[in-house]
């Protein structure tokens, strides 16, 4: 079939009609269409009925369970006969005694359409399907396409559905926008102007692919992805509860950075973090990886009851594990069976039992009210770069030593003339060896502590009624994966270790891990998930817009050996990715919520990218990779409410002030105000999707935070030193540097007048110009005229406050 679309002719020939079924998540059901339980019926049952008639055995009313067919048809539903089905009578009824959902549930009544769906479903036999994410992904035929601009099977899936709805791919974004998009998406930084030039001028058909590969190979890629991983695993520098003391964690950041940059397969990445200590001959890095199990929130308050807190920590780990790898919300099952998904309280405690071997004694040792606190077991490690440097220097030392030994051999032979000739070289060798020795000693001192996982005899785990840690009447449980997944081939060993758990997470029979990961990567590069709710792919989550595509990508990821960079490369090279984000009238009409992916997503950039972009544009950014957490500027007194011990924030100095935000000290109770204003999470719990806000607090950061003012004055300095001479040209240079574009005439006129006003005003008040260009600690050159500098600083402040600074297009 071939169809026209508003944005140029897009043709697609699709033979795979099977795709028609079960994909129109938001469309209403037409008479001829096959009804799908998962698409049409489950959302209604889940949202309106399951809370009282679902998986939770504790709260089940009238002993009626509607999430399982055998129970439902035993009373409420008579397949084929809606008129005789009690369920239909109840949802139609307006009798306060009979109606469902009942008034006191505060649940919305079913709409007429929803009632009709239920009637039709029962009429057609009340067939159930397992929830989509609980069954393994299935491979479907890629919609065959011709004439469509399909660079990747992704485009075939997306294009097919678009064509079906009478619309096609949007035009490709203009090169400047695309260049900025892919650069921020892959490395979290704006492109260098020369990169934009090169990209715009290139006529190679594979210019985007080539640049994507370059970016994927850059160490900054690891920094970008680590930032997201840290939101998931709730990485922070402090313990979170009560005194919120620092704990030893920085080497774990280096581990994640290195692993992601080296494209470590995700299954291995999973194994090392959950169970690196259990791997045979565990390397130092594999031990560091297990800091994952220790980076949860802990309390060091006097008077904590170990038993209560062991439960809190167990529950925290189960919540995080289920959010990060399974995309399920298991927190509620600490106290009762899940209300919507087939997950029981027993499942919760069985998952908790996997972690019951983790040595926690150190957390209760009473380190005293000191920060950093001690949370043994900890190990003392050198960073990977330091380890490599020492080994390199040892090799050099050995080489010099053997040369020296050779020379000194001359002493033995009493060949004095030879020796005196070599005297200079001997001295030089000794000097270099002393230097190497000193370097090795110096670098060896860089050792840092890091919390790790050590295994001990497993603590007994029992099911706690209502999650009450003092109730010891519940049955004991052993480690096991949730029962809903146990019918599949179970790779668990007999003793159920963390390693077994990790192996199950990445086993081909686990239906969730790969889907959840692919869905979140899709979100990072398209602005929204294929399944919109990134935190819950359970019954109350959203069905994917393109289930076959999500399944195909999930299978591809697993079959590629969990090649993360490989899947990202595909995501950012597709035609779908390249589309403009500008909504056309037609797209808004046909696809108002962008569920057909007829345009790129627009979103507020994460806090870290906003700060890093300002620093990069100003030239202040320090691009060293890895290392300890750093403390950039922060308003004085911000930690006044921390105690045990009282805290004084000591700002870093020199280059440490200007490192990327992934290194910024993450105080769970008092997150850095800039990060907080731009919605970075406290990292107390897993965050798969930050909620962007638009508040005066964020405006005040860009307007007045000394960090941004300082970045502006250095950007101003750059245009004076590196830019052209006249005002209009300087403005053009700055917008090219900052946003990779040019100003139009209106913008230019406005800014030329702004420059003139500021120049005149600063000339009249020299003192204020002098003050402005001395904000921040970066050393100021003496040879710059304060008025000019202040004027261009004022312009830079305007640019840093524009919408383009914070929005992804």
């Amino acid at each position: 079939m071939s169809l026209n679309s508003g944005d140029g002719m897009v043709k697609i020939a699709a033979k795979s009609l099977i795709l028609l079924v079960g994909t129109l998540a938001s469309a209403s059901l037409s008479a001829g269409e096959v009804l799908s339980f998962n698409r049409d019926v489950r959302p209604i049952l889940s949202d309106r009925c399951f809370a009282c008639h679902g998986p939770d055995s504790g709260k089940r009313e009238a002993d009626l369970r509607l999430d399982r067919r055998e129970n439902a048809i035993a009373s409420a539903i008579i397949p084929g006969d809606p008129e005789s089905s009690e369920l239909i009578h109840r949802i139609r009824s307006s009798d306060a005694e009979k109606m469902m959902p009942p008034a006191d549930s505060h649940k919305l009544r079913l709409t007429d359409e929803q009632v009709a769906v239920m009637e039709r479903w029962i009429k057609e036999g009340a067939r159930y399907e397992p929830h989509w994410s609980f069954i393994p992904p299935r491979r479907s035929a890629v919609p065959e396409s011709s004439g469509i601009d399909a660079r990747d099977p992704i485009d075939a899936y997306i294009g097919f559905r678009q064509t079906e709805r009478g619309i096609g791919f949007h035009r490709e974004a203009d090169p400047g926008t695309l260049a900025r998009r892919i650069s921020f998406d892959l490395v979290g930084l704006p492109p260098e102007p020369f990169e934009v030039d090169r990209f715009e001028r290139s006529e190679r058909p594979d210019r985007l692919e080539r640049w994507a590969d370059e970016l994927l190979g850059s160490p900054a890629f690891g920094e970008r992805l680590t930032s997201y991983w840290f939101d998931l695993v709730r990485f922070a520098d402090t313990v979170g509860y009560h005194g919120d003391q620092e704990h030893a964690i920085s080497p774990y950041r280096d581990y994640v950075l290195d692993a992601l940059n080296a494209n470590m397969p995700f299954d291995q990445f999973t194994r090392e973090q959950l169970a690196g200590d259990l791997l045979p001959k565990a390397s130092v890095d594999q031990k560091i990886a297990t800091a994952y199990n220790r980076v949860l929130q802990t309390s060091h308050e006097g008077g904590v009851q170990p038993k209560e807190y062991l439960l809190k920590y167990a529950a925290d780990r189960v919540r995080n594990l289920s959010s990060v790898w399974l995309g399920l919300t298991m927190g509620c099952a600490e106290c009762h069976d899940h209300k919507f998904d087939d997950l029981t309280q027993k499942d919760f405690y069985q998952l908790a039992a996997f972690f019951a071997d983790i040595e926690e004694k150190g957390d209760f040792a009473g380190a005293g009210n000191v920060t950093p606190t001690r949370r043994d077991p900890e190990i003392v490690v050198l960073s990977r770069t330091d380890r490599e440097m020492i080994s390199q220097k040892n090799d050099q030392f050995d080489a010099l030593q053997s040369r020296l030994t050779q020379l000194l051999g001359a002493f033995a032979s009493n060949d004095w003339s030879e020796l005196s000739k070599k005297n200079g070289e001997i001295l030089e060798l000794r000097r270099r060896m002393v230097h190497l020795h000193e370097e090795i000693v110096r670098v060896s001192k860089n050792k840092t502590r890091v919390m790790v996982t050590a295994s001990r005899a497993r603590r007994p785990v029992r099911i706690l009624s209502r999650g009450d840690w003092m109730d010891e009447s519940g049955p004991m449980v052993e480690p096991a994966i949730p029962a809903a997944f146990r019918s599949m081939k179970d790779p668990l060993g007999s003793d159920g270790t963390r390693l077994d758990l990790a192996n199950w997470l990445s086993s081909p029979t686990n239906p969730l891990t790969s889907r959840v990961l692919v869905n979140r990567l899709w979100y990072l590069f398209y602005g929204a998930g294929l399944a919109k709710n990134l935190e819950d792919v359970g019954s109350q989550g959203d069905r994917p817009t393109h289930p076959e595509l999500l399944d195909a990508l999930s299978l591809d990821l697993m079959e590629s050996g969990w090649d993360i960079k490989g899947i990202i490369r595909r995501l950012v090279n597709s035609t779908t990715y390249r589309q403009s984000s500008l909504p056309t009238k037609e797209a808004i009409r046909i696809d108002p919520n962008n569920e057909l992916w007829t345009r790129q997503g627009r979103s507020r950039r994460p806090a870290e990218m906003i700060r890093d972009a300002a620093l990069a544009t100003s030239g202040l950014l320090v691009r060293e990779i890895g290392g300890r957490s750093v403390r950039p500027y922060q308003p004085a007194g911000y930690y006044a409410h921390l105690n045990f011990p009282q805290r004084q924030y000591v700002e870093d100095t020199g280059p440490y002030l200007f490192r990327r935000s992934i290194y910024t000290h993450w105080q769970r109770q008092y997150l850095h105000p800039m990060l907080k204003a731009f919605d970075a999470p406290s990292r107390e719990e897993c965050t798969a999707q930050r909620q962007p806000s638009n508040t005066p607090a964020a405006s005040l950061v860009l307007l007045n935070d000394p960090e941004f003012v300082e970045a502006a004055r250095f950007f101003g300095l750059r245009v004076i030193r590196e830019g052209p001479a006249n005002d209009a040209q300087r403005l053009a240079w700055m917008v090219r540097q900052a946003f990779g574009r040019s100003f139009d005439e209106d913008e230019l006129t406005l800014l030329i007048e702004y420059v003139a006003r500021n120049r005149a005003s600063f000339r009249e008040e020299l003192e204020s110009a002098r003050k402005l260009v001395r904000i921040g600690r970066a050393p100021s050159p003496a040879d710059i005229d304060d008025v000019e500098w202040a004027t261009w600083t004022a312009v830079a402040r305007v640019l840093f406050n524009l919408d383009e600074m914070i929005t992804r297009y």
Partner: protein, 476 residues
Amino acid sequence: MNDRVSAQTRRTFLASSGLGLGMTALGTLLAREGRAGTFSPSDIGGTLAALHHAPKAKRVIFLYMSGGPSHLETFDYKPKLASMDGQPMPDSFTAGQPIAQLQGQELKVLGPRFKFKRCGQSGQEIADILPYTQKMADEICIVRSMHTTQINHDPAHTVMNTGTSISGRPSMGSWINYGLGSECDNLPGFVVMTSIAGRNPQPIASRQWHSGFLPGKYQGVEFRSPGDPIHFVKNPDGITDERQRDLVETVKQLDEIRQRSLRNPEIQTRIAQYELAFRMQTSVPELMDFSGEPKNVLDLYGVEKPDGSFAANCLMARRLAERGVRFIQLYHRDWDHHGDLVHYMNICGKATDRPAWALVNDLKNRGMLNDTLVIWGGEFGRTPMFQGKGKDPGRDHHIQGFSIWMAGGGLKPGITYGGTDELGYKAVEKPVHVHDLHATILHQLGIDHERLTYRYQGRDFRLTDVEGNVVEEIIG
């Protein structure tokens, strides 16, 4: 007809802009539309289309006595405790109960350290440590049967503010602003201030005023004093108000030009936020300036300027309330009296007793106590048992029974509600859980606590989780 359309557009814009119209502006707007008197939260950025019932209160001031003041030395007089002073605590009370710092120690009864008095017409029993509170006995409603679930400070604070000890849930001030919107066009709808004086202060985490999974615009903003009350509220050095205005105006014009080609509705919202930020920059210094307050008012509180004291914060709270701030929370952080209880309670009493009285009176004098709910209380109470951390006796954390008081906001004045057992251990008469307190606060604001929900991770969350009963008997 045209007017209606434009009013709708205006409201939509206001709703999306994070902070609503000011009182006056709203009054004008509603009067113009002929609907004055029917307050609709969605008009000013709240989520509720209409209130669930007629409200008694419009705002809340929570005087948060952080650390856990002893109910046994303030509002819960137990003669039996005095007669058993020094004797072993009967096992029947403590067996199988959670215990904090007294774990593994011998448990002895500690009699009340202060005398109590029957006060006012109502004859409410209040300890001598709080002489000013004694004077307003007829204004306050004392609840002596509070109980909570967490025995350590941090999680207990989290329960008091969010209804659960699990991190990441919205605090009550955020819920209230989410439901009702803000009546204030140049200040946040939820403001927090803190003070210290007394024993080594307990830490307090910003989690306690966080918006959790609710949008960030509903989170509490901490006003600090002395110093810059809000982060980055001052212009950078060398930037005059005129230059700042010029900058904001230029940014706005440039964003509008880009908007022509980008068609991103967020840009419009953002422009509004810059306007608000700029207004905040000018309104905050005025707010922090007490020089316009008459001498008798300053004397009432016993303050001269914003100096970070609880007294100054109380006066600030009244000024914020006047300007339409919806939820104001003042933490006094030194009520954790494991030892030297008499000494430290005297300090805390001096710091907080008179200002709380001054605030209630000041509100009353201005006719604002009717629609302002004032709450005094901490995250838990203290054990009837002795703790020996210090030179003189103290008490450990206690969650089974403790006291708070409330005033104004449509509650019955001059009554005492509920009670603990004869040793002040467990709330036995009409127990009030934190969830019940939350349900009651929301009720006074015109909100049914079961119907203010937010869907997150597939579930409709609310402040009271699946619990909470409105304490009907204390409602006037």
